[in-house]
């Protein structure tokens, strides 16, 4: 298994967000599905130590994530947030900033292509792009780190139906071109069926099911 969570509990502001969650996520395409407020995004952030649980253990490749350097871990297990949050400057500035964190020289055109944007976007100011375009730049920025795992937090929640389909197609195509595992967070069970092979289901902070999508989310 790529990730294993063992009796993980987390509270925020006195409220229990995750309660005694034990679950596994294999290599390949998996997802965390559940209704809004079920703790999906919080769980995702535990996988690359953007947060730590109050109790329980998160293991990556068999080792407790707390034994890893958090910066190296995040470059290897990279999270793309739900809403775009780019730095001031051009698209290329954003991609270069990320790549330099991992001492890499980015192929900006290729990264944009992987994220479904053409090379002309490189010089455009990041904050002038549409939400969908910014989300793709976020993806290109993360890919510049050459991660082993991409954590995708509701990547289409801010998009209209047309843009959502295009981003899904980009992500599916991406996995054919780049050797990367993905963990997708979604409240949309239909999207979970389209995008993942394995699902962990959450409800009100508790794990309510895990397994193959074909079994867990059979129509």
């Amino acid at each position: 298994m790529l990730f294993e969570l063992d009796r993980v509990t987390l509270e925020r502001g006195g409220k229990t967000v995750l309660q005694d969650v034990s679950a596994s996520l294999p290599k390949g395409a998996s997802c965390i599905a559940g209704p809004s407020g079920s703790g999906k995004s919080t769980l995702l952030r535990l996988l690359n130590r953007l947060a730590d649980p109050a109790s329980g253990t998160v293991r990556y490749d068999g080792a407790d994530v707390r034994e890893r350097d958090p910066l190296e871990l995040r470059r290897e297990v990279c999270l793309v947030p739900q809403l775009p949050a780019l730095l001031d400057g051009t698209v290329e500035d954003n991609i270069r900033f990320a790549a330099e964190l991992a001492d890499r020289e980015p192929d900006v055109s290729r990264l944009l292509d992987l994220a479904g944007l053409n090379a002309s976007f490189a010089e455009r100011p990041a904050n002038k792009l549409s939400v969908g375009e910014q989300q793709r730049v976020m993806l290109a920025r993360s890919l510049s780190l050459e991660p082993r795992v991409l954590l995708l937090d509701e990547p289409t929640s801010a998009l209209d139906e047309g843009a959502r389909g295009a981003v899904e197609a980009t992500l599916l195509h991406l996995r054919e071109r780049v050797k990367v595992s993905t963990v997708l967070v979604t409240h949309d069970l239909a999207q979970a069926r389209r995008m993942a092979d394995w699902v962990v289901r959450l409800d009100e902070g508790r794990m309510v099911g895990e397994g193959r999508v074909s079994e867990q989310l059979a129509v």
């Binding site: 925020r12 999906k40 995004s41 919080t42 952030r45 690359n48 130590r49 953007l50 947060a51 730590d52 958090p70 910066l71 190296e72 871990l73 995040r74 470059r75 990279c78 999270l79 793309v80 947030p81 739900q82 809403l83 949050a85 780019l86 730095l87 001031d88 900033f97 990320a98 964190l101 991992a102 976020m138 920025r141 993360s142 780190l145 937090d153």
Partner: protein
């Protein structure tokens, strides 16, 4: 620079006519500031009279220890006051105390070492007061902006952390903007000094009968000294305070809502 002027109580009292105008304006336009103006006048009279006696005592003692004690007290009160403007910054008191302490000590130490002022209470008390006062304002504005921006832009900060950036790298744009906010007021007033307004020291010296050349030179010394102290205070305060938003593992202590 040794001139003196005697100001009578009657002359001070006569300026209450101008305060009366302020009260009248507030009353006429229903600004509801009459009470605040009254409090401001009474507090300024009491506080300045009290500090006047303290300064007279220190001048009479002619001991640098009392100067240092006075400045140390100002630093502590300055840190408490500035903390009120930095409510969104966790544990802001200590960064502010260290910032004001170092900015005050370094600035005063430098002006003495460079031979700009003699190490005597009559120079160090007013200069120290100005340095700590301006440093406090700058540090308060800097941390106020830091707290606002770290709260408002928590998602951007976390998105940068998610790429494997350190907390220093993730907070860098906000730290830069905060430092600019803290310094820009003094820089702007330094740019426009003599054109749009006459600064207080220069006015005071001219009223006291000093030559305009001396008044201008002393004013320049103070303005440039304050630039240094304000930069130091803002830099130290923000450098120490931004860390309080993060854990050792480069995580935000207050996680943004998903």
């Amino acid at each position: 620079m040794s001139s003196s002027i005697h100001v009578s109580i009657g002359e001070v009292a006569a300026t209450l006519v101008l305060v009366g105008i302020a009260v009248a304006v507030s009353f006429w336009r229903s600004a509801d500031l009459e009470k605040d103006i009254g409090i401001a006048v009474v507090r300024s009279a009491i506080q300045l009279t009290a500090i006047g006696y303290v300064i007279k005592f220190i001048f009479d003692q002619d001991s640098l220890w009392f100067v240092f004690l006075l400045i140390a007290i100002m630093v502590v009160f300055g840190a408490f006051t500035a903390k009120q403007r930095a409510k969104l910054v966790p544990n802001a008191f200590w960064p502010l105390l260290i910032a004001l302490g170092i900015a005050g000590a370094a600035t005063i130490g430098l002006v003495i070492a460079l031979g700009i002022f003699k190490a005597q209470p009559r120079y160090l008390v007013p200069v120290g007061g100005m340095v700590v006062g301006n440093a406090m304002t700058a540090a308060a504005v800097t941390l106020n902006r830091l707290g606002d921006d770290m709260t408002r832009h928590a998602r951007e900060v976390e998105a940068t952390l998610a790429l494997g950036a350190t907390s220093t790298q993730a907070a860098a744009p906000i730290v830069r903007r905060s430092l600019r906010s803290g310094m820009i007021t003094l820089i702007d007033s330094t740019k426009t000094t003599g054109l749009i307004f006459f600064p207080g020291t220069m006015v005071g010296m001219l009223l006291a009968g000093a030559s305009p050349t001396d008044a201008v030179r002393l004013q320049l010394i103070l303005l440039w000294t304050l630039l240094g102290s304000v930069a130091l205070a803002g830099l130290i305060a923000v450098t120490l305070a931004y860390r309080n938003f993060f854990t050792q593992a480069h995580q935000l202590r207050e996680q943004p809502e998903p």
